[in-house]
């Protein structure tokens, strides 16, 4: 199988088997959540925008939210051979793109997205083995299902594997 690259947009998710590559470009306050079954190497990536679906009047797009997005991602991964009990996760994003002078009454959405993501993964018993969260800059991520590495690229804040 060739190293196919699957691009994941906002409120979007993709799954693949090894050696597929999952990427999402320009994560800001959104969170990119990678789930991975290390045995079958079935991998999934969801790009969520908001914390919880039940707090919103319009929750028709399930991939927009941390809770329903992760749920759907697991279902799709199981269909192509993942064992939900073996899943581990890597997460990135949750930045506050505009900070300092602005005194917004709502808590920073990036932080809320990151907290909700951790709560949802925690309830499902999925360990977070690596994370790159927060800050005030964007991130592009690439996940290599072949070996489980997650590449995080930024503008001015370096490039690293987590």
């Amino acid at each position: 199988m060739e190293n196919k690259i699957y691009r994941v947009g906002m409120a979007d998710a993709k799954v693949t088997q090894s050696p597929g590559i999952l990427t999402t470009i320009g994560l800001g306050s959104c969170v990119g959540i990678v789930l991975y079954d290390p045995i079958t190497k079935v991998s999934g990536l969801v790009h969520i925008m908001l914390p919880y679906s039940n707090k919103m009047s319009d929750n028709s797009n399930k991939l927009k939210f941390a809770d329903t997005g992760i749920q759907i991602l697991i279902e799709e991964m199981v269909k192509i051979g993942a064992n939900p009990k073996r899943l581990i996760s890597k997460i990135a994003g949750g930045a506050q793109m505009f900070s300092s002078k602005i005194n917004s009454d709502i808590m920073n959405i990036g932080e809320r997205n990151a907290i909700a993501t951790k709560e949802v993964l925690g309830k499902l018993g999925i360990p977070i083995v690596a994370e790159d969260i927060g800050g005030n800059y964007g991130r592009t991520i690439e996940f290599y299902s072949e070996d489980g590495r997650l590449l995080v690229k930024t503008i001015g804040y370096g490039i690293k594997y987590i």
Binding site: A11, I25, G28, K101, T140, I155
Partner: protein, 208 residues
């Protein structure tokens, strides 16, 4: 509280938003022209409604580096404003305003000049909306970010995400001297404020 669904907005509503965009952007460009002391020609602004998936690509690609200048909106109407520019346009503005050639990166002085340009444009934009609707609106000091388009545009996308799967913005293009400057205004009223603006303009939504 009624829910406003921008997926279902009718033609009339779009026409009104287009007109608001026209007047708002017209005022913003006039303010800019005064600021730089040069004539600026504006093309008719375009109201665009896109899916989330498409929005990060409006500057070519989600990893294109752009400039975003962001404001909180307060008063009768609450929400946010984002003015987004490509790097070339931002450098052209700096050149027009300060006669400075931007090197590889924007320095602090150039960033604060961009904030000020955004401030004046967003301020006059909001002032014209305020006059039209008789609603009180004021903007916070500006905050700037120079980063990937996807990351910057996720901010308005998330705000819109609370009410819809679409995002609405106003694309403006203007010409200063020989230079074409392209900028996009995202006006993001909070859910309740959306309704308030429409009521102030005498528009009923959701067929009621």
């Amino acid at each position: 509280m009624r829910d406003v669904d921008i997926n279902r907005l009718n033609e009339m509503y779009l026409d009104i938003l287009k007109e608001l965009g026209n007047i708002g952007a017209g005022n913003a460009i006039t303010a800019l022209s005064t600021m730089i002391g040069k004539k600026v020609n504006m093309q008719v602004p375009k109201v665009k409604i896109l899916d989330f998936q498409e929005v990060s690509d409006i500057f070519g690609s989600a990893d294109t580096i752009i400039v975003g200048i962001y404001f909180d909106l307060d008063g009768d109407v609450k929400g946010n404003i984002l003015f987004a520019l490509d790097i070339k346009s931002a450098a052209s503005l700096i050149w027009s305003l300060m006669g400075l050639e931007v090197k590889e990166e924007f320095d602090e002085l150039e960033k604060s000049a961009l904030e000020e340009i955004g401030n004046i444009m967003a301020g006059s934009y909001v002032a014209s909306l305020s006059t039209l609707t008789s609603l009180n609106m004021k903007i916070s000091p500006p905050a700037i970010s120079i980063d990937m388009a996807g990351a910057i545009l996720s901010v308005p996308a998330i705000k819109y995400g609370e009410i819809s799967d679409k995002i609405l913005f106003i694309e403006t293009q203007f010409i200063e001297g020989e230079k074409l400057i392209k900028g996009d205004f995202f006006l993001i009223p909070d859910i309740n404020s959306f309704d308030l603006i429409l009521k102030a303009l005498g528009v009923e939504v959701n067929g009621k």
